[in-house]
């Protein structure tokens, strides 16, 4: 892999592993992010992993660009998936009409029944390639090609928080109320972003999630539990049990 080290101004370094959405490239990004975090390099302020590159923010008074590049070049990373050490979050999702207003249109356009769309969407284990754009917004990889569908021509001005949608080859959850053009297929009772929580963000890049279809009354029950602070997130533990 041809790794490039590029300055983004005088306070950030970009480590670019590639230009495309690709599992090996993303594995390298996540693995390198872990290496840098573990090394605790003096002057490094924070790290932002994305699909295909890593932005390293630093304080130039404590470490120079040249020094930082030579330090990170000496660190190792793997392009293999480290799934066995990562947990999978179960995301309950209600695919009712009230939550998934675009399901019927999608069914016509894709030539699949609604049940098939739901089945395909909830079968896959999705990898969180990166987070960004909105607080707690997950960019997920691995959406089945059969349910890829273009965004709406005219985006909605307000999509309610917790909506689950599909846009092109991507699926995800709107963490907060937001404008957006994704097709809405359901809603999860989980808050991907809640500032009142000790850890406001539910997941991090490199982890996995899987959607689990639920009925409307289950949705309401879980929602009530969350509001009372009693809900415990459900995880599929990794086989090796080395996960957190």
């Amino acid at each position: 892999m041809d790794v490039r080290y590029l300055p983004a101004g005088d306070e950030a370094l970009v480590i670019e592993f590639g230009k495309t959405i690709d599992e090996e490239i993303n594995n390298s990004v996540i693995s390198m992010a872990a290496s840098i975090r573990n090394r605790k390099i003096k002057g490094v302020r924070e790290i932002l992993p994305t699909y295909r590159s890593l932005m390293v923010f630093y304080n130039p008074k404590k470490i120079s660009y040249v020094r930082l590049v030579s330090t990170v070049k000496s660190l190792g990373y793997k392009d293999k998936d480290e799934a066995e050490s990562k947990r999978t979050l179960i995301v309950p999702c209600c695919y009712d009409d009230s939550f998934g207003p675009d399901l019927s249109d999608m069914s016509t356009e894709l030539g699949l029944s609604r049940e098939e769309i739901v089945k395909i969407h909830s079968a896959e284990k999705y990898k969180i390639y990166m987070m960004g754009f909105l607080p707690g917004f997950v960019y997920l990889g691995g959406l089945d090609k059969r349910i890829n569908i273009p965004r709406l021509k005219t985006p909605r001005t307000k999509i309610p928080a917790r909506s689950v949608g599909i846009g092109g080859a991507q699926t995800g959850v709107y963490p907060v109320d937001s404008p957006g053009g994704w097709r809405l297929i359901g809603s999860t009772p989980l808050d991907f972003y809640d500032i009142k929580r000790e850890h406001p963000i539910l997941c991090e890049a490199g982890e996995y999630i899987r959607f689990k279809p639920i009925f409307r009354d289950e949705y309401d029950d879980i929602r009530r539990e969350i509001e009372l602070g009693n809900y415990k997130n459900e995880y599929e533990e990794a086989v090796s049990m080395t996960g957190r």
């Binding site: 983004a8 970009v14 932005m55 040249v66």
Partner: protein, 327 residues
């Protein structure tokens, strides 16, 4: 100690150095747009340099002191008065309980920083007091100020004994020009543009549009030619990143920038020059001057020490263990 907002002005928010460590969750840094003026305002009133202050945009607020306090402002010239008496930039004033501080329109620059001795005491959210409007966090209830808001001011050791010393403080005020030259470091995606595109970017001048806010400054000028569409697979954005959209026009991303973006970034503004962009008004002209990262970071204490200890391995372990870890 506290103040009450009578009229919030166009856009007044609580800001500090910024919120760091949450970019990987999609929460951007926020913080003062013009760090120079913000830090100097804190200096004037005897605060630590990262104490929270008010960032005032374009049209100033009116506020009442509910207790005695020392204040000072920096950045844009905004025709401020305290009970009708002129208040100048870069100076320190003592306000008495019940007095009214009023700001007018920005005459030079566009953002002013108003600091109070003790700092604005709003809750620290994710490590910062900065307002992040998109995420509705920080500052005063996660939003811009409104009429009727009462803001607490923290304690200042100067207010008991040192008021007279504070009142002597002065800070040098910058005069903002309508033609601005900022230094840029090319990249990370400068290779997406043709040679002509890069030359136009570096030799041309770009006008500040009316589309400017804490997220970004949209510029107008000659289209910057790219080798291919500038849509890229999203990667990280920093304060000062210059994106070229599919229309070929630059947008400079500022303090409330999104954390990731899908347009090629031709260059990044050198951090020290961001203060001038933060004061740019619609119609101002911006020129970009190319510099290398090594020009900006000419001499570095850490590198210097490391190089000495590296050539004397015996010293390393005793006097400068960090150098070992950094290698």
């Amino acid at each position: 100690m506290s103040i009450r907002i009578v009229n919030p002005g166009a856009m007044t928010t609580v800001q500090d150095e910024g919120r760091f460590g949450y970019m990987d969750s999609g929460i951007s840094e926020s913080g003062a747009m013009d760090k120079y003026s913000y830090r100097k305002a804190n200096y004037l009133v005897g605060n630590k340099k990262d104490e929270a202050a008010l960032e005032i945009t374009l049209m100033g607020p009116e506020l009442i002191f509910l207790s005695d306090n020392v204040f000072g402002y920096m950045g844009a010239e905004m025709e401020a008065t305290l009970d009708g008496e002129d208040v100048l930039r870069g100076r320190t004033y003592l306000a008495r309980e019940g007095q009214t501080l009023k700001f007018g329109f920005a005459k030079n620059g566009i953002r002013a920083y108003l600091a109070f001795a003790g700092g604005v005491d709003v809750p620290v959210v994710l490590g910062s007091r900065s307002t992040n409007i998109k995420c509705s966090i920080g500052g005063f209830e996660g939003r811009k100020l409104q009429a009727g808001d009462v803001l607490e001011i923290g304690p200042s050791r100067y207010l008991n004994h040192g008021v007279n010393r504070l009142l002597k403080r002065r800070a040098e005020q910058k005069i903002y020009q309508s033609e601005i030259q900022v230094r840029v470091i090319l990249g990370p995606q400068d290779d997406y543009f043709t040679e002509n595109g890069l030359l136009d970017f570096l030799n041309g001048s770009y006008k500040v549009s009316t589309d400017i806010d804490r997220m970004g400054i949209r510029l107008e000028g000659k289209t910057i030619e790219a080798k291919a569409p500038t849509d890229i697979v999203s990667d990280g954005i920093t304060f000062g990143s210059i994106q070229i959209t599919s229309s070929g026009m630059p947008i400079i991303l500022m303090a409330d920038h999104q954390t990731t973006g899908g347009y090629a970034k031709i260059a990044t503004v050198v951090s020290e020059d961001l203060q001038y962009l933060a004061q740019a008004r619609p119609g101002d002209v911006i020129r970009f001057q190319k510099v290398d990262i090594t020009d900006v970071q000419k001499w570095n204490y850490f590198d210097f020490l490391t190089s000495i200890y590296e050539s004397n391995p015996g010293l390393e372990m005793i006097y400068y263990p960090e150098a070992v870890h950094a290698r």
